[in-house]
């Protein structure tokens, strides 16, 4: 099996699906000749031409609005937003239009498309190149939200997302674009949306994470194990609709819960996950659930490593929750 990094795996999925399905088009800023600022679409312009890999004007609202129209027509657009921080000019099109079209048209108009966008910090990008805005989209009825943590899943989840009949927001953690490497099967396969992966088994505390923070959790879990605390680390993979069964089964086993994400704490996804667990497994909990997250400040530049919930902040949360 070939070894790939995240960028290569995503590129592989795009190439495969473009060859398989002539309705698929890629569109965005700099996606053509340059292959995107992170080179994720590299080579596709040469292979498929400028009618299928389209450099657009600099307008996120234009890109998403036009993609919605293409999807209504019957194409499968894969727009790229260069950084998820720049998705907000398109927020109205995503929230009011893309997410609602099927519902408000009584099911007549589906919007089959995938918005790809890099997320997250730790790359010296400062506030406007580091945000992790998933909770703002999870709150929107009608969207599916995905965030892979490794090349294998990235390819399989992207293929599943493109073939999914609903709009999917596909967040790519840029901190691990090149750092996360692994075996990626050649050819076609999918990782079903809505299925989490138990990345490390354990019996004392359940840890929920996704994207780049998964590695920080695995690191903290390894250190916790040295102190006799066995953490079960779950990679959510699809953030919404989340794999509730896997989460509840794990919490029933461990009785304890820690949720980790980079985004600010207040109104973040961790709060929602903890609520879900309280609703469905409250009497199995043996300790208050904990959140390890970014702070309720804009993402900083110089102090980004203090802002991110890295393993040095996750470890005490694991130990405290396990012992509480």
């Amino acid at each position: 099996m070939p070894q790939m990094n995240m960028v290569q795996a995503i590129n592989d999925a795009l190439r495969l699906e473009m060859a398989r399905d002539p309705r698929v088009v890629i569109m965005g800023e700099d996606v053509g000749k340059v292959g995107g600022v992170f080179r994720v679409t590299a080579g596709l312009f040469d292979e498929f031409g400028d009618e299928r890999v389209i450099d657009t004007p600099l307008s996120e609202g234009g890109i998403i609005g036009a993609a919605v129209g293409m999807a209504l027509y019957g194409m499968v657009p894969i727009p790229e937003i260069q950084f998820s921080d720049f998705i907000f000019p398109a927020y109205d099109q995503i929230v009011s239009e893309l997410a609602k079209y099927r519902y408000r048209s009584g099911g007549e108009y589906p919007c089959n498309m995938v918005i790809r966008t890099p997320v997250g910090g730790g790359i010296r990008g400062g506030h406007y190149h580091s945000q992790h805005p998933e909770s703002l989209f999870i709150h929107v009825a009608g969207l599916k939200v995905v965030c892979p943590s490794n090349p294998h899943d990235a390819k399989g989840l992207l293929l599943a997302s493109i073939r999914d009949p609903d709009p999917v927001l596909f967040f790519e953690p840029k901190r691990i674009y090149r750092a996360a490497k692994g075996d990626v099967p050649e050819g076609d396969y999918t990782v079903p949306l809505g299925s989490a992966a138990v990345t490390r088994e354990g019996r004392h505390v359940t840890v929920l994470a996704y994207g780049a923070m998964l590695y920080e959790c695995l690191d903290a879990a390894a250190k916790a194990a040295e102190q006799g605390v066995e953490a079960e680390v779950i990679d959510l993979r699809t953030l919404w609709p989340v794999d509730i069964d896997t989460i509840i089964a794990s919490v029933k086993k461990t009785g304890r819960l820690v949720v980790v994400h980079e985004a600010p704490k207040t109104g973040g996804f961790a709060g929602e996950l903890i609520s879900l667990v309280c609703e469905k497994a409250f009497y199995h909990l043996e300790a208050p659930p904990a959140r390890v997250t970014g702070f309720d400040t804009p993402f900083p530049y110089t102090l980004e490593m203090e802002y991110l919930p890295l393993s040095h902040r996750i470890l005490p949360a694991l130990l405290n929750t396990a012992k509480a």
């Binding site: 800023e29 700099d30 053509g32 000749k33 340059v34 292959g35 600022v37 450099d55 657009t56 004007p57 600099l58 307008s59 609202g61 234009g62 921080d85 720049f86 907000f88 000019p89 730790g122 010296r124 990008g125 400062g126 506030h127 406007y128 190149h129 704490k265 207040t266 702070f295 309720d296 400040t297 804009p298 900083p300 530049y301 110089t302 102090l303 980004e304 490593m305 203090e306 802002y307 991110l308 890295l310 040095h312 902040r313 470890l315 005490p316």
Partner: protein, 374 residues
């Protein structure tokens, strides 16, 4: 009134480009802003300083000492000329490529370099990327990465002044790609409707990262985009310092006379990459750059000054040494300055820190420290 200004639809297809500095070094009297020779020397110094700092910052980035830089190579006349034309009471709303204009308006070199290092003396306290500084004293806005956001704000600022009957104008910088953003259309429309004393300064430098102007617009020119909004547009040779000053002053006169906004399209060229993260060889042919080397705005002014016996090699060398020395001193000072304090991360989110931020700050201060930054 500039002859080339496009004011009405029937006049729209007007490709005239305002130029003042002729090939032979003489000035076209029709638009000559009549600068004193000392003023030209002053501006030349700033243009050279801007270019040297640009080069040095790229080197620092390559050495891994700063994270990023986004420069103005080739666009110095457009940037310095327009900022110089603005009066002291006027305000500038920057894009991200105009540090030369900020320095000209009194932003301290040391503070700029502190921003490049994101240290404790950085005017924005290490919170934003390099080149995202602010300086209220210099009547300079705060820089945001998302494209276009400053345009409507510049209009609103000018509008406020108009309502309060304060005589000032605003100038907003943006690139050709930014004219595709919805903010451009919002800003032009508001400015046109409310006749705000504002100047739209489009640096048409040919590229928006890898996307050429033909992919941003099907208009023949950017200047003519004003027509639909009732905003006169003018095209100017952006590599001609004199011409840029002339058209900007003309736009200020229109603001003063209550005639409202002007859209200036400065034709220039982004001679370098988009930023230190970009490699232009991937998308543009090397020979595209060549003709622009001959139109280098700095060389043109140097030739003009030499012809007027106001400049020579000795002065040039002294200038370069001076900039180099000041730059090196600023870098040394910036590099030996502490990073911002941990607690500062929680300040300025609100004027008064609410309980949840106090709690999170105390938690961070009490907890374990992150491993040394990458």
């Amino acid at each position: 009134m500039i002859a080339a200004a496009v004011t009405r639809t029937e006049e729209a297809p007007n490709d005239t480009i305002v130029r003042v500095l002729r090939e032979d070094g003489s000035l076209d009297p029709a638009h000559d802003p009549k600068l004193e020779i000392d003023e030209v020397v002053h501006l030349y110094r700033h243009m050279v300083e801007t270019r040297i700092i640009d080069e040095r910052l790229v080197t620092l980035q390559r050495q891994g000492r700063i994270g990023f830089h986004i420069g103005s190579l080739g666009e110095e006349a457009a940037i310095i000329g327009s900022a110089f034309a603005m009066r002291q009471q006027d305000w500038l709303f920057p894009c991200y490529r105009e540090f030369g204009a900020a320095l000209l308006r009194g932003f301290k070199l040391q503070r700029f370099i502190d921003n490049m290092f994101g240290n404790a003396n950085d005017p924005v306290k290490g919170r934003q990327m390099p080149d995202h500084y602010t300086c209220k004293e210099a009547h300079w806005g705060s820089i945001s990465s998302p494209i276009g956001t400053q345009m409507t704000q510049a209009v609103g600022f000018a509008w406020g002044a108009k309502i309060e009957k304060k005589a000032l104008a605003t100038l907003v910088y943006f690139g050709d790609g930014s004219t595709s953003s919805s903010e451009f259309h919002n800003a032009m429309n508001f400015a046109g409707v409310f006749k705000t004393p504002s100047i739209f300064f489009c640096r048409n430098n040919g590229w928006a990262i890898s996307v050429p102007v033909e992919r941003q617009t099907a208009s023949r020119t950017f200047a003519e985009k004003g027509v639909a909004y009732g905003v006169p547009g003018v095209r100017v040779d952006g590599n001609d310092l004199f011409a840029v000053i002339a058209v900007t002053r003309d736009a200020i006169r229109r603001c003063e006379a209550g005639e409202g906004p002007t859209l200036i399209e400065a034709l220039t060229y982004r001679m370098g990459g988009h930023s230190t993260s970009d490699d232009p060889n991937r998308y543009r042919a090397a020979d595209e750059v060549k003709p622009w080397v001959d139109r280098d705005p700095i060389e043109r002014i140097r030739r003009y000054l030499e012809r007027n016996k106001a400049w020579d090699d000795n002065l040039e060398e002294a200038l370069r040494e001076d900039v180099d020395k000041r730059f090196r001193e600023a870098v040394t000072a910036a590099e030996s300055t502490e990073p911002p304090s941990l607690a500062s991360m929680f300040e300025d989110v609100y004027k008064k820190m609410p309980w949840h931020l106090e709690e999170q700050r105390d938690e961070l201060l009490a907890g374990p420290r992150a491993p040394k930054a990458h």
